[in-house]
């Protein structure tokens, strides 16, 4: 972020105190769940979740939702933890925290659409990282989930201007990123970076938030930002975007993020993008159900 943008942003985002703080148990819980699978301790996770009533209730509700109904009634936190699995628990922990941030009245983007996009990018980033054998597979999920978090900052702290930016984007069939640049003078990448800092997120995540639209500018290694950039494009092309017509045509093999990724992983040319794209249609359906379940009251 250059100095002028930073100043413009600072002048408008006077204080991030209006943004919710992270619940106390979230950071240690997420640390537990980011460990390699064989090192994750069910008992510890159960104990931490049991400390927060609302998160515990959310986990039970999700474990018993239509998505997992085959398993029959789940009544204990431990049962829910086992039934949901590490990855889904992480989804739920973040969603239960993040969804309450959506200012319902004046939000110009449908919150469900926003979360479908965020969870979509998280999942697709992870799948893509796995397929191309990027070493940072576990990290990439959270990077994808939080990449657009700056839009929540903009929507919460600058509701009117953000509303104008969204309207401008829809009217001119352009990306929100471009519209924000024109209308606000800064983007969700800049404001997201501020929030990432405020929440004390890891530098990896902060870099993805700041550079997912400009991965070539990301501090090295830029592979995480590149993967999230590609996943973002794919989601916007395959029914997990912002619900309006913005992207026209993309040649992945020539996209800047693709060229960056090609330097980071060997044999990227052997990756079947066409098949991966078709696989996403099943993901889109599932993400839709997951977000709908998270929004059930």
């Amino acid at each position: 972020m250059n100095a002028a943008v930073h100043e413009a942003l600072r002048a408008r985002v006077k204080s991030l105190e209006a943004m919710p703080a992270m619940p106390a148990i979230l950071a240690p819980l997420l640390r537990c769940l980011e460990l390699p699978p064989d090192q994750i301790e069910v008992e510890k996770v159960t104990e931490l979740i049991s400390c927060d009533k609302s998160i515990a209730a959310q986990c039970l509700r999700m474990a018993n939702s239509a998505l997992f109904s085959r398993r029959g009634a789940i009544e204990t936190i431990r049962g829910a933890v086992v039934a949901l699995g590490a990855r889904r628990l992480r989804d739920i922990l973040w969603s239960s925290f993040l969804i309450q941030m959506a200012p319902k009245a004046q939000w110009p983007i449908n919150p469900m659409t926003f979360w479908e996009h965020s969870f979509g990018v998280a999942l697709v980033s992870q799948q893509l990282a796995k397929k191309v054998a990027l070493p940072e597979v576990e990290k990439v999920y959270l990077c994808g989930l939080l990449h657009d978090i700056g839009e929540l900052v903009n929507a919460t702290l600058l509701p009117e201007e953000f509303h104008n930016a969204v309207e401008h984007a829809v009217k001119h069939c352009m990306s929100l990123y471009e519209a924000e640049k024109e209308i606000l003078g800064f983007t969700h990448c800049d404001s997201g970076k501020l929030l990432g800092d405020y929440w004390n997120l890891s530098s990896d995540i902060q870099n993805v938030i700041e550079f997912h639209h400009t991965p070539a500018d990301a501090p090295p290694p830029p592979a995480l930002a590149a993967v999230v950039n590609l996943a973002d494009l794919l989601c916007r092309l395959r029914g997990m975007g912002y619900g309006y017509d913005e992207l026209r045509e993309i040649e992945f093999s020539e996209a800047p993020a693709w060229l960056l990724l090609a330097k980071a992983v060997p044999h990227l040319e052997k990756f079947d993008v066409a098949r991966f794209t078709m696989e996403l249609d099943a993901e889109a359906e599932e993400i839709h159900e997951l977000v709908a379940a998270a929004f059930q009251t």
Partner: protein, 301 residues
């Protein structure tokens, strides 16, 4: 966590693990034919395999898979299964996202490049047009744009199929209600005439499409297909063996003008079959581009 289920995939937990044999069949079909069925289509694949196992009288899916891979009639049986998978797919406006990509991006882009050369003519080829739904859909779309986007331009739609009966049915241009299931009402009213329980395509559409019989494996004939801007070829190449597929695609490449596009069916891919074309993505659709000679990068447009 110690329990393996904790990391199981979501879909697996909800629906139970997909039959591993079905996954093998899916991957076999993709490898041999280039048609891909994502996980949410497993029920469909399962159903189509069930139909075939009944016909060929095999007791189980694993036995059927054996038959597809090492049975004496494996090639024929793969064909039969493909027929089951693609049967009844043909209809007007079959792939709206592909059509949207054509109208919003592909055609304007080609027109921009051609008007710079004052060459105001477009040539579209529906290769393997079956009974004509695809080329007529294209003709209707182009007619709709003829006073706006395409004003001052000449355009031509060529439609070919191997099957004589399909070609004569296409020329006849009479369809049942089912073929029109995706047709938007304004198009239905404007370009079709009811004939009993059937619908006849209007003459103004009919005369814009030239049908002929063509075998895509007949290389001497393919050499005459030149100067094409966009090729559509859905669910045809899936029946070709690797070598024939490569040859036909190479001919398609040569038939297209530089900057021209080639659209496959919704679930098809050319991965590993061509190095000449470049894969491009549109919202909900993909296509293959014959790059223009000086085309330099850009990637995201």
């Amino acid at each position: 966590m110690s329990t393996p289920s904790i990391l199981a995939e979501r879909r697996t937990e909800r629906d139970g693990p997909p039959d591993p044999v079905l996954i093998k069949i899916r991957d076999l079909i993709y490898k041999v034919c280039g048609i891909y069925m994502p996980d949410n289509k497993f029920y469909f694949l399962n159903d189509r395999c069930a139909r075939r196992t009944k016909v060929v009288d095999t007791a189980s899916l694993p036995e059927y898979y054996e038959m597809l891979t090492s049975g004496p009639d494996r090639d024929a049986e793969i064909r039969n299964l493909l027929n089951e998978i693609t049967v009844g797919e043909t209809c007007f406006f079959r792939n709206p996202q592909q059509l949207a990509a054509l109208r919003k991006t592909v055609i304007p882009k080609i027109m921009a490049a051609k008007s710079a050369l004052s060459f105001m003519r477009l040539k579209i080829w529906s290769a393997g047009c079956s009974t004509g739904e695809e080329p007529y859909t294209l003709a209707m779309l182009f007619l709709e744009e003829s006073l706006t986007l395409l004003k001052g331009w000449t355009w031509e739609i060529i439609a070919t199929d191997l099957n004589d009966r399909s070609v004569s049915k296409a020329r006849e241009g009479v369809y049942d209600n089912y073929s029109l299931r995706n047709t938007p009402l304004p198009f239905r009213q404007k370009y079709f005439k009811e004939r009993g329980s059937d619908f006849a395509i209007a003459d103004e559409v009919k005369k814009r499409v030239s049908f002929s019989r063509l075998n895509l494996l007949d290389e001497s004939k393919l050499l005459f297909m030149k100067g094409i801007d966009v090729i559509f070829c859905a669910n045809v190449l899936i029946y070709f063996d690797g070598a024939s597929k490569r040859r036909t695609i190479h001919h398609f490449f040569n038939s297209l003008l530089p900057g021209g596009y080639f659209f496959l069916g919704h679930s098809e891919s050319l991965f590993g079959v061509t190095d000449e074309f470049r894969l491009v993505h549109f919202p909900g659709a993909t296509a293959y581009l014959r790059p223009a000679p000086a085309a330099s990068g850009g990637g995201v447009k």
